[in-house]
Every structure is written in structure tokens, then in C-alpha cells.
Symmetry: D2
Subunit: 344 residues, 4 copies
Amino acid sequence: MAGNSFGQLFRVTTFGESHGIGVGVVIDGCPAGLPIDIALIQQDLDRRRPGQSAITTQRQEKDRVEIVSGVYENKSTGAPICAWIKSEDQRPQDYEEIKKEFRPSHADFTYQAKYGHRDPRGGGRSSARETAARVMAGSIAKMLLARQGVQIGAFVSQVGPIRMKALPENADLSLTESNLIRCPEPETAQKMLELIEQIRDAGDTIGGVVTGLIKNCPVGLGEPVFDRLHADLGKAMLSINAVKGFDYGSGFEGIGMKGSEHNDEFVEKAGKISTKTNYSGGIQGGISNGMNIYFRVAFKPVATLLKNHVGRHDPCVLPRAVPIVEAMAALVLAEHALRQKINT
Amino acid sequence: MAGNSFGQLFRVTTFGESHGIGVGVVIDGCPAGLPIDIALIQQDLDRRRPGQSAITTQRQEKDRVEIVSGVYENKSTGAPICAWIKSEDQRPQDYEEIKKEFRPSHADFTYQAKYGHRDPRGGGRSSARETAARVMAGSIAKMLLARQGVQIGAFVSQVGPIRMKALPENADLSLTESNLIRCPEPETAQKMLELIEQIRDAGDTIGGVVTGLIKNCPVGLGEPVFDRLHADLGKAMLSINAVKGFDYGSGFEGIGMKGSEHNDEFVEKAGKISTKTNYSGGIQGGISNGMNIYFRVAFKPVATLLKNHVGRHDPCVLPRAVPIVEAMAALVLAEHALRQKINT
Amino acid sequence: MAGNSFGQLFRVTTFGESHGIGVGVVIDGCPAGLPIDIALIQQDLDRRRPGQSAITTQRQEKDRVEIVSGVYENKSTGAPICAWIKSEDQRPQDYEEIKKEFRPSHADFTYQAKYGHRDPRGGGRSSARETAARVMAGSIAKMLLARQGVQIGAFVSQVGPIRMKALPENADLSLTESNLIRCPEPETAQKMLELIEQIRDAGDTIGGVVTGLIKNCPVGLGEPVFDRLHADLGKAMLSINAVKGFDYGSGFEGIGMKGSEHNDEFVEKAGKISTKTNYSGGIQGGISNGMNIYFRVAFKPVATLLKNHVGRHDPCVLPRAVPIVEAMAALVLAEHALRQKINT
Amino acid sequence: MAGNSFGQLFRVTTFGESHGIGVGVVIDGCPAGLPIDIALIQQDLDRRRPGQSAITTQRQEKDRVEIVSGVYENKSTGAPICAWIKSEDQRPQDYEEIKKEFRPSHADFTYQAKYGHRDPRGGGRSSARETAARVMAGSIAKMLLARQGVQIGAFVSQVGPIRMKALPENADLSLTESNLIRCPEPETAQKMLELIEQIRDAGDTIGGVVTGLIKNCPVGLGEPVFDRLHADLGKAMLSINAVKGFDYGSGFEGIGMKGSEHNDEFVEKAGKISTKTNYSGGIQGGISNGMNIYFRVAFKPVATLLKNHVGRHDPCVLPRAVPIVEAMAALVLAEHALRQKINT
């Protein structure tokens, strides 16, 4: 109940601390016979890695994935898949002073209060480094989902006050990696970049929104009561460091609408049922309806300030959060895709 | 994995359909020896019940709670507590026509697609009637939390464009029940009421925000990785009908702030550590820090329109959602209060 | 974690005390669209019921099953199925004196020590009455398994020193119900009956063995490490009142064999692989191999003696335990049949 | 649901294949602040290791435990503890021929049928090597239990027809490690050793019984319905390779007793309640009563024969099974000790 596992059927357990020996994940429940492409896992890890550019943390790590178990001749065997990355950049001395104080808006105080003692090196489990384990698992979940044609994407849609113009549903996912910000609107990305550079120069940080977009999701994923698809997506996103909010479909903005405007009318084309509008965000009654699923994840400005502390942190975590949002979305979808196999 | 249970240690399973024999809940894991006050359960049920006023559904139900098991001489025995309410208002004939069509923005289509067949009476499990089971369980969770002094409150803070002026943290919970809207600012409540009456007269519906406020939460509740306290609160809230979004602390509005503004500095007064500001919303690194916990829950305008369908629905579900938000918050807090007993 | 649930995918939660309002079960995870035959549930309940004959408890209960939820037009809907039986024979006064003392080899002492207080009426949750809930759930599990052709049987194979002659694998399940003892060898049954009558006349009790036999189990059920099929069967059986031991295949008697004798050689006939002998009991490496599964469940002589106490108990619980063993076996097989749907 | 985890609160997940990179375990839920003595883990691993003597497998492995996470300054932090051993003796070529055939009474056939493809190297997950992961976790569980004074022991009580004379409850655990067999009766151990040597010379194998003995268990561990303490112990033991049966207290031998003989009468001495006899095996109604807990675990003769196959196996696995039985018992007790903290 210590909460280091996520999912039931596609069950992921992460372990390892920042600045410890390494960080890893065990996936229990990956179906047997799935082709595992290690290069794809590495690619997602590289997207998450610090030190990719001038706007992200200057910590240089190789983050080489190693598969410890569960894969034979490049296919899953049904046994637990363990994957991990060893740490190469252990600098605990940097953190010696942090041991004695509670940094504002960090987990130092609550960890100390909860456990009585704590591992102060790099924030231990509260460090973003733990998310590398999620990315490895999410990458394998994506492979499972790709067999059904499901596509999982995420992108930066807002930094501070600067927002994308396009509706999230219409974003062109092929442009996400075309810039450092991972915003699929190049001109907006440029403005975001300028803002982040200003913020960095002022020794400050800024927040924003990552939007998730799931295309080609089959109808019927999600459970009707507690494990609604969007409730599980919400929990997944809110478990990411620095996330303060989640909404899907019309979300917080739907508050201002009237019911008569908000209804998504069903239409039938060539035997396939869809809806005219998609305020529902692809989920009705907690269950996917076949339309695109889209949701927003709000990130606060991260707390550590360059001017105050020696830790190495980003002025804006958003670009690196994109593969993490994708990973968590993939874990939720993989879980529910497996569940749906036993519902009838 | 069908998702009709919530929680692990304080584990709640709901059953029953709208317009079936009854709706109930089994709580497995309520500690033994807890005094159970049935009158308090009934009181929470009465707050959720339709037909309380001109602005809520005109379905008259008594909703009498009956304790089936797990309580002896008014104390929990450690055995599973089953509580239920019988249905007295079974009018399946009203729904006969719904059987054949898919109502817009309802779960009819997704249920049919998921399960192959469905119980069309009153929406079956997708009906808000299922939430009566949550309210009963939440009421018992509140009794457990009250022993530790934890207070769980919720109120309507926004209807359409009309918002409360006070900061959520400063809301006076004793005023919540002073008006039909359950908004603790009487003059704002009056405006909300006028808007809802307009909307009802137009045969339409409107959404809004319920804010949750938890006072006197002990330090240390929540787990650092996946089961962060706010992630579990988020899932809990997103599992309520018509909810489209959740945020806590500075939430979506924190996006516009800079890190230097957003930091909650620690201060020590008389040996007790607190923070000067509370943008963290009482939770840091996923763990409660002893400050007030507050969060927003966004409700869409409900889909069924009086002008189109025979079902009996509210122009605004917000006031009736208040006890449900409280119940779900209580379930999350009870779960984590029990977990914290085994963390050291 | 209070242990009133069994299974994960086909998840059963029981509630209710002996001499309380009623005893019931919630099944979460029964696939949608399964035809539910209430008459079959009632039939299994009748087999478990006390008062069937001179050799069982003289407590007369009707034990009428009522389906509260999850079934519509005689088919499961995918929603939780709640079934229960109301108590008609509440005689708490009989148990008033038990409130103060600890009966030998009963749960009175341990319950009091564990929970601080307890419901003394009829043993509360420790009463065999709780097993009625399991029988209802097991009956539905049998319906699910029958779709795949799996047959679940159990019978009394030993009472005190009197044992069946036939190998358990070769038992003729169609004879089980031909006598009061539920032993499919009529002449052995007669001897068992005589022994039980002697024991009853002496005011004493006696133990024995119920053998479980599962025919036509598909290959591949069970998980290789902790959730081996026989480990889950073992737990299921050991959770039944008065059970002291479990073995399968060659079991405790295989201890005396050498490896060279114990090997089950594979043979192929008409493309189907089977084994020449079946010391493995139909399970290898924790996974079913398509041969008959058979196992033994040891019941102690029950503790309450007619001469000492007012409670109404059986001289030999074995015949009534038969449907309970079947029910628990069905729950395990249903669980693993669902799991196998997601392993590849 | 793939069954590579055991326990809920003290949750253990194992990973790794025989002849893969390594074998490890993640423990999620170990309370913070527990002193972790790595030397004790290594000591238990050494007891399990092959190649200890002439009567066990001649596979030489060092099996050095490495703690990957969750421990800081020799104390648990509350984060997941990952421990593993790297493989040093990878000889997959030995197993090349096994790839094509199904060894009798092995898991080859069932794995192939279940998963479609499999890792044939050393039996993959069905290998006894997986149990090294359990031993590491069990060792930490023992440290947790030792804080409460609970002592977990196991010993070989029977090999083929040769049985210990002493009652299991009275075994002197301090003698267990005094001989290669791990039987605390030296003269019986000598006879067992002679038998095993005969069996080995004949190229055959033999089974037997390991008895578990838990001293100083607090009253109140175990849950009354499905998760009875003995049911969880039974599942734990039945999940060990080559185990065919489990009983506790009077067990299968209690079948021949009458209820009047079998009752354990309560006595009170100096305010402490105990029972005169202990046929209950320290557990009543599924809950520990403070008396010694004892149980038997039946091991079949292992299947691989030296004369037929190249694999390297023991003529008798019993001595090496002793630390595994202890480990699994410790996991069950640790789980229930944590659960009991939340029952009142």
C-alpha cells in the first residue's frame, strides 16, 4: 500500500532513488509474445533525459536501458519484465546541505514527518528521476497498444500565458518533436522559447500545460463506476511531479456552457457511430466512445530556484514532461485494454 | 477489475442499479470498535436525495439507510459493514423508449458497446443513484476521521460564471447548509439561485464547481509516488458523474505564476511548522503538510434536457453533488489515515 | 485487507453474520451476458443447508436466494452481482451464555483478542453460515465455467478411518447425490453413515476428507510463481471452516515414492498430449495440463459438542461441506479462466 | 494478475530467470526505519544455495546479495527495497536440447501451452532459482518480525519413510543447522542422510516433509474469512516448487480423532490465556491464539533424473527448501503483523 505500483493487470512497480545505484521498473502482466523493441524504449528515455538543450537541466546522464528479465529472443515471455538504468552521475555531496533544511514547496518536510528519516540525495523518490522508470514501462505499454492501432501523443500546449491556437484535438502530432519545446505549433513554440529564456535569465521558473491526445482508441475501454477511464487518466497525471490539475474534454471551460450547447450528438456514417462535437473528450460515462481522447495536465512552476540552491533544475519542466505524460497515458490505456478482454 | 471498489484498506464496494431493488455498499476494512451513528448516515443521505427543493429533481424517495451487517451494539465489529437503501420509486416504464436509442452525452452508447447488453432502467449503474452508496460509506469514513479531528467539507463555489469571492481556504463551512445552493456566501448563493431558476425555466442545465476543504489533516498522509494524496483525491472526484476536471492548491491558475511567487515558505511558530502561503494546497510531494487541503471539482452541465426526454433531472446538480464530494474525500482520507499507521 | 474478498478478476466479497439480518455476496467482475439460472443457485444452497437429514444440524432455514443487482432479463450485465439470503431463524438468546466464555477450539477467544469486542450471536463471521454466500457465488462461477465445458465436483471420500476404495480420479460424480453422505461409493457411504450415527448417539463429532475433482479443465490455467493453480486451490480450501489440510495429486502420499516412479510421462494420441499417469494431479509447474485435477481437503471433527453447549451443530460436517468445496474450487477456476484470457 | 507478487501490505514482487542476468525482488511496504542487516540476508541465501554439500546440486554460485534501493545508512527509508543477485554461472548451452522436448513432470509443456513461447534456459521462472528472491525478502521480513519477538523456524522432519520422533512443537530449533539435512534430531538426520546417499547413487530422487514452527507469535494475526492465517501459510507453501501438500496442527491426522479428543481447552495462568493441548496448531478461527504455530509441507521427489538429463539437480531438495519455507512463512507473518495494526 506504499503506492509504488500502478495498474492491476498491466502492473508496474518502480524502484530506485535519484543518486542511488539505479532506477528501475518491474512490469507484471505484460502478455507473452509481444515484440519488445529496446531502441524505442531508449528513444523515449532520451526524450525525458536532462541535458538535452539549453532550456533543460544541465545534468548529463546516459540513461542506458538494460532489460534484466522477461524478454527472450526479443519477445516478452509472460514473466515479469524488469528494466533499469544505472546511475552514472552520483554527486551526493551537492546535497549535503539540503539534509538539514526543508526547501520551500519541496517534499523534504513531508518525507521527514512521514518516515522519521529520509534519503536526502537528490530528493530520493521525490526526484523526477523516478519518472525514468515510468517512461520505460510506458514505452512497452505503447508497443502493446500499437498492436491495436492506438496512438498515444502529448505536447506542450501552454507555457505561462502563451497558449496554442489550434484545438487540442486537431494538433498535428508529427510536429511535436520539431522544436525544443515540443509544441506542435512552430510559431507558438518560438514564443514559448523566448519566454523560457527570459525566465531562466531571471533565475526563475514557469509552469504550463501538457495536453495528451489519444487517437484510434477502441470503443469500450474504462469501467463505469470508480475506474472510469478519465478518472484513471487523472490519477496517472496527478501522480507526476509538479502537476496541480487535470481536466478532459470541455474540462474547466465547460462550466460556462449550457447543457443544450454541450451535448455531443450521435451520427452514423457508413455503419460507424461517432459524435458531431466532442466536448466529451472521447469518454462518456467513463468509457471510451471511439472519438479522440484529449486532456490537459497543469504543471506549476517548479520550486527550486537557481539563485538559492545548488541543485540543478529546469526553468521549465514542460518539454521533458511530455514523454512522461505519454508514458502514464499508455499505462492507463494498456491496463484498460487488457481489462476489456475479460468484460464479456 | 470491474471497478466497483474503491480503496484498499478502507475498501468500499458498491452495488445496485437505479430502479432496481436497491442500492448498497460493503465496507471491508473499517476498524473494529468505531461507534456508528446511523442518524449521521441518514443526514448525509438526505442531503444527497433528489426532491429537496424546486431546483433539484422531482423524484421523491425516502432513501432510508439499513445496516445489514458489521455493526453490533452500535459499534463496528471488524466484519464487513453492509448498508443499503431499498428503492421505493421504481418506474421502469418511463425508460422504455430509452432502451432503443442513445441519448447524447450519456453512457447508453458506451455501455451497449462495452457489454453487449445493458439494463436501461434509469441508466443502471451510470445513474447518480449509485452515489447514494458512496455517501453511506463516506459518512462512516467521516466518523473514523472525526476521531482524529479531521473535518471534511465541500461547497458550491461556482455556478456558470458566478463565483465566490472568498478564497476557498477561508470559506466558513458552517454557512454551507444555510441556503439551497450550499454556497457559504449568502449573497453569491442568491445570485446562483437566480441563474439556476432562469436555466430551469429555459429547460436547460448549467455546470459549475464544487470546492472541497479539509481541515486539521494530520501531517504525513499520502504516498510519494503513484498514490499521492492529491492523485487519489483527483481520481475520487473524477469518478463522480458529470465531473470533467480537478485541481488543487494553485491548480490551473498556478500556471501563470513564477516559481519565485509560488514558493510556500516554511515558518515555525511555537514548535509547529507551517507555511506562510498555501499554494501547495496542503499537500507537498504527494503528502499532507498539515495546512488546509483544498481542491476544485468541475461539473459539466448535465446532458439530459427536460424538453427532450422523459427522465427527471436537475437543472444544476451542484448542490446535490456537495455530499458526494465530501464522501469521496472522506474515503480517500480514511484510506490514507489507515495506511499511515503501517508506514513506520 | 480485512480478508472478506476472494479473487481479483472474479472478485467475491461476502458480508453478514449468523443470526444477523442476512448473509450475502457481491461478485465484481462477472463477465456480461452470462445467463444466470437462479434455480441452480438455489439447488446448491439447498445442498449446503442445515436440516437436510438426521445427520446434519437441526436448524431449519429456507435460505431463499434473492438477486439484488447485476442481472437483467436473466443475464449478467457486467455490473456487480449482489445475491443474498435473509435470515428467518434468529435465535440470539440461545447464545447469550456464550457471550461470556470462550468455547474450546472456537474462534471466541481469538476474535475477542483481535477486535476488542465481538458479535457473539451464532459465532458471527466464524459461523458456517457465511459459507452460504460462497455457495451462491460459486454457483455463478460454475455457470461461467460450464460454458467452457469445465465440470466441478466434490464428494466425501473419507469419514474417520473409513475411506473410499476407488482412486479419486475415477470417482463417478453422478453417484455423489445418491446418498446422505455424498460419497459416490454406495457401500462405503453406508459404512460412513453407520459410523456417524454412532458418533452422534455418543454426543461426539468426527472428521474426514472431501475430495475435489475437476474434469475437462483447459490447459494453461494457473500462474507460474505465487499464484499456482494448486496454491490458490489450497488457500481456497483452507479458508473453509474446520479445514486442517490440503494436498493434490500424489500429495502427502507421494512422499514415499521415488522420482523414477513419480514421473508422469507424456504421450501423444491423435494430436492431443496427455500423461500416462497423473501423480501431478492435473497441474504441472502450477499450471493445468489438461488432465483431471484432484485434491483432498482434511476436515477436523468440529468442536462444539452437543453434550456441552446449546448451539445446534452437526456430528459430521462433511456432507454439507461438499457444495462449499465445489464453490471454492469454482471461484478459483473462474478467476484463472479469466486471467488466461489476458496472458497472450 | 500474473502472480509474481505476494502479499498486500508487505508486498513482494520477484523477477529474473534462471540463467538470465540475475534474480531479484522488490519489497513495497516495508516500514521505514527498520535496521537492515545485509549479512543476515546473505546468510539465508547461503543456506539456500546449491553446492553446499555432496547431497545437493553441484552448481557453484556465489549468490551475492546487492541492495539496489530503499535502504539508506542501513535503515529502510519507506521506499521500495530492491535486492538482487547477479548470475555468474550462465550455461544456456546445457539446456539447448531441452528446448525441443517436454521433460516429464516439469513445467515445459504447460508453459509452452500457456504462453505460446518460453525461455528454456534452466526452466526460466519455474526454476528453483526464483526462490532466491523469496529468501532475500523473507530475510527482511524476519528482521521486521524479530522486533516483536516472533521467531520463524523450519526443519526437515521426514525423508521418504524416515520421520522425526519428537512432536514438531517440541523441536529444538538450535539443532537445525547442526547437520547437512537440517533435521534437529541428529540420529534421525543420520538415517535420512544414508537414505539420500543410496537414492543419489541409484540416480534417483526422494521426497519428504519440511515442518515450519513459529514461536512467540502475538495473539490476533490472521483474518477470519478468506485470509485466515493458515490459509495464507498454505498458499505460501504450496507456491514453492515441488510442494504437494500442506497441513497444520492436527492436520490430516486429526481426521481419525473424535471432537471430544480434539478440543483444546483454555487455561489461564498468571493472567495469560493458553490451551492445554495444541491440536489447533496455534490458530483458531483463522487467527493466531498465541500458542506455537506448526505446519507440515509435503515435497514430492523432484522429477529430473541424473540418468536421463544433463540438468544439475538434487537427489533430495528438502535441506535447501528449509530457508525457503522459513522465508515464505516470514512473508505471511509480516503481512499479517502489519494488517493487525489497522484492525482496531
